[in-house]
Symmetry: C2
Subunit: 502 residues, 2 copies
């Protein structure tokens, strides 16, 4: 039996790109992408993607491994890119549309992007970003993506390179570029950087294939669903559902912006993933018997990140020092670690970050701190860098924050470590108040906390701000606050609470 192994018929590369041709065969006349009164069928989407991939190669000289960026809202072209760009052999790099010109410039430079597709509304940001590229850096070529549904956009100049002109040039019979290996890069996503500078997460064809099929199974996606795109596709590639919709013949409903007041009728599910996992790899698989519990208990259970999806190999919560699994007691904290086929290849041009996250013991270290409950469900308690160690005791900043959020006047709260001469670190709370919430002092916040948590966890410093600093995806930038706390200098080990207003 030892003589048998991988062979030419079974070792062809796993890739999600083949889903599209199958969708054209099975769901050819069914709607694939809907946007205002534009409706494409799966046959049309298939042919348009082949045309675009062909034009990228023949007209624009894109070759295997080149990076092609996109700066687009959830319009039909954004959907098509998820197939068309890798079908040309290139690596798709979706850029967060909320970034400023400086950051876009940094990403274009770091990725060495050859080409960028841009929405008319985002052209000003892109122009500024291109101007910020260092002298000598070859700027990516720009393709404007028309949107006839937005009447305020000026028509594209006759000479401009536009998306539809490129599609027209292409050959719908193009033999798309299959990956030479299933480990070939297919996707480049920059993390939004809550704790550090953006890192370029690279995913391969195999990883994207696996997360796509895994998510369909884990989320029990039915055949021929209608999929309303509210999650931006630039965000971890829409958690792989652009490819998944081709498997099940779904209808992708595109929206430039999500502004409906939808409040009822949804069944909420809870999942967990990172840019580094290409999609959701834990989900709070719901048990029928939980339906009978009171609402507060149901909310407590639903808030847990849950169990690994079927395609993931393993998840664990491990002690930072010993590397051993923490007890399954729902209270001992450790770092959440993962292994499975959809874990990133690593960070582009950042060997140190890659080595820090992907260890020789076979685990990917998420940087998230959590607990393992006795029933095998994982729950996040914090980001690892957000753990405050005071007098040798670990303090979860998330836990302190959740108490602060319970205060009726508190709008936002973030707790970070502040150096302390005696305790090492003490909790420092940044708080913004609700409008018209009345006057609240630091002493009030401390008193509120003392009644609700152990003494050592109570913030020693409380700082009020009108608003807390956030990333473009709305996450509070704790590293900014951490720097502020650091610059304030150490507390002195006594129980001082200051009412600083910045």
């Amino acid at each position: 039996m030892d003589k048998l192994g991988a062979n030419p018929a079974n070792s062809c590369a796993l890739t999600p790109l083949g889903f599209l041709e199958r969708a054209a065969t099975v769901f050819g006349d069914c709607p694939s992408v809907v946007y205002h009164d534009t409706v494409f069928t799966w046959s049309q989407t298939h042919r348009r993607c082949l045309r675009l991939a062909s034009a990228l190669v023949s007209s624009l000289g894109i070759s295997r491994g080149d990076v092609v960026s996109v700066l687009l809202p959830n319009v039909p072209a954004m959907y098509e890119m998820h197939f068309a760009v890798p079908m040309s052999g290139a690596v798709l790099n979706s850029i967060n549309t909320r970034l400023d010109a400086r950051t876009v410039s940094v990403l274009l430079r770091h990725s060495g992007s050859k080409l960028i597709f841009v929405d008319p509304a985002l052209l000003p940001v892109l122009r500024d970003a291109l101007r910020l590229l260092p002298a000598g850096h070859t700027a990516p070529r720009v393709v404007l993506v028309e949107d006839p549904h937005e009447k305020e956009f000026p028509p594209a100049p006759a000479a401009a390179l536009t998306y539809e002109r490129l599609v027209e040039k292409g050959d719908p019979e193009f033999a798309w570029v299959r990956p030479a290996s299933e480990w070939d890069p297919m996707i480049l996503n920059y993390t939004s950087g809550t704790t550090s500078a953006p890192k370029g997460v690279v995913h391969c064809h195999r990883g994207i294939f696996l997360i796509t099929v895994d998510s369909l199974v884990d989320w029990a996606v039915p055949p021929r669903p209608t999929y309303l795109w509210t999650l931006p596709m630039f965000h971890a590639n829409g958690w792989s559902f652009p490819w998944g919709m081709a498997v099940v013949g779904g209808t992708n409903v595109c929206l430039r912006r999500v502004d409906a007041a939808e409040a009822i009728g949804f069944e909420v599910s809870h999942g967990y993933g990172l840019t580094e996992t290409a999609g959701l790899v834990l989900s709070c698989a719901w048990k029928g018997e939980w339906d009978k519990l009171p609402a507060s208990e149901r909310a407590r259970l639903k808030a847990r990140q849950g169990v690994r999806t079927p395609g993931m190999a393993e998840v664990d919560v491990v002690d930072g020092e010993t590397g051993r699994s923490v007890p399954r007691d729902g209270s001992t904290m450790g770092e959440i670690v993962l292994r499975g086929g959809c874990i990133t290849l690593g960070y582009l041009n950042d060997e140190a970050a890659t080595k820090a996250a992907i260890r020789d013991n076979g685990w990917f270290y998420t940087g998230d701190v959590g607990v393992m409950h006795p029933d095998g469900y994982v729950e996040i308690r914090d980001r690892s860098k957000d753990v405050i160690i005071s007098g040798g005791e670990n303090i979860s900043s998330v836990e302190v924050e959740s108490v602060l959020y319970g205060h009726p006047a508190v709008n936002e709260a973030a707790v970070v470590a502040r150096p302390d001469e005696f305790w090492g670190e003490t909790p420092c709370a940044f708080v913004s108040l609700k409008q018209g919430g009345g006057a609240v002092t630091a002493a009030d916040v401390v008193a509120w906390s003392r009644e609700r948590m152990p003494r050592y966890m109570v913030p020693k410093t409380v700082i009020f701000r009108d608003e807390l600093p956030k990333t473009s995806t709305g996450k509070i930038q704790k590293y900014v606050l951490r720097n502020i706390a650091k610059e304030m200098g150490p507390t002195t080990g006594t129980n001082t609470n200051r009412n600083s207003k910045m």
Copy 2:
């Protein structure tokens, strides 16, 4: 980007065995296996499989790569084996329960099986098979699988090695044996051999993982289904659904025999696979617009084998000589070829058969002859060896048989090639008649055929038999008939029809 590739966190072996631990976490208290009034939960199935795997290693000395055979109907132990045996590191070899002692003996010898689990009802066949093993061949150890629900079975002798005694000995905390590589053998299935001697098809962990997840998606299996086992699990491992049920937390309803008169209420779906693909790799994906067609047209469409499942890389129909794709015209015949992650590693100890089926061009040759319809759906027309070439014309024996089956007196019909001095080959029909169907002569059969098919396709020889020879799975053994036709000697190129009664 070239520096990034497989790493310790993402290259862990794909295997379906991890589904069981997850099922115990998510569906712990839900029913996993039901048999009469025996009901196991997923927690229990998980612990029982770990116990059994542990006992195989510790008590019976099974080690990585050993072959463990089972000769069981669809009882709970048969389900558990699909996890427990490979969790011990061994390769699971399910044996067709309808085989005779001689064939079982051949398989036990060829596989070098170390251990065999047997049902009390199949013990006599096994005993005969063991007696037929050649002198010097180490016979596998026998484990009797009790069935307290079958009252006529005598109780197991106190000293006998039984399944439940083995489970009791095992450790439910056993660290199951993970495959060293995802290409490690996990499954050994013998084909039933319609065209030749049985071949030992070997599947690896990766292939079984892929076909399992692929089948769940393609067949849109919902969460927590109830799965009635009518397909024998020995048949291509129940098309991978034993593992799939652990993913979705299904309830496996086991039946020793299927004898209910169930006639209505089923929605029939049509799929295609081979032992060599570990499950179904084509399915006749149904289009909503077909619902409006007349019943005969719907039946015609449903009879097509269809399109590749999402996880398969490619399917094609190729010309035997040129190797090129046949036209998509629904009439030009060629051999159906496949590539994808679930294709077999090859045939055990049979390099020639492996090389014949798995070619360097990256295709697995199925031996099935079909056509590609203009809409991309594949339809089988014949087994390649069943093509009769008469005067340079390809004759589909299936096509001729379908005309013969249309005759009101015909019960069974099989058409094979008989050598011919002038035409090379001519069709030779073997026919059995319905009881009380009246007297039918060879001339009648020929006359019936002449009115309904081209002259060159009309059988030149018609042979009546009371019953046609069949494999244990009920397939007509054409190779037996082909040998008979060959031994009759060549026809003489004239249009002679003989009424032979054998």
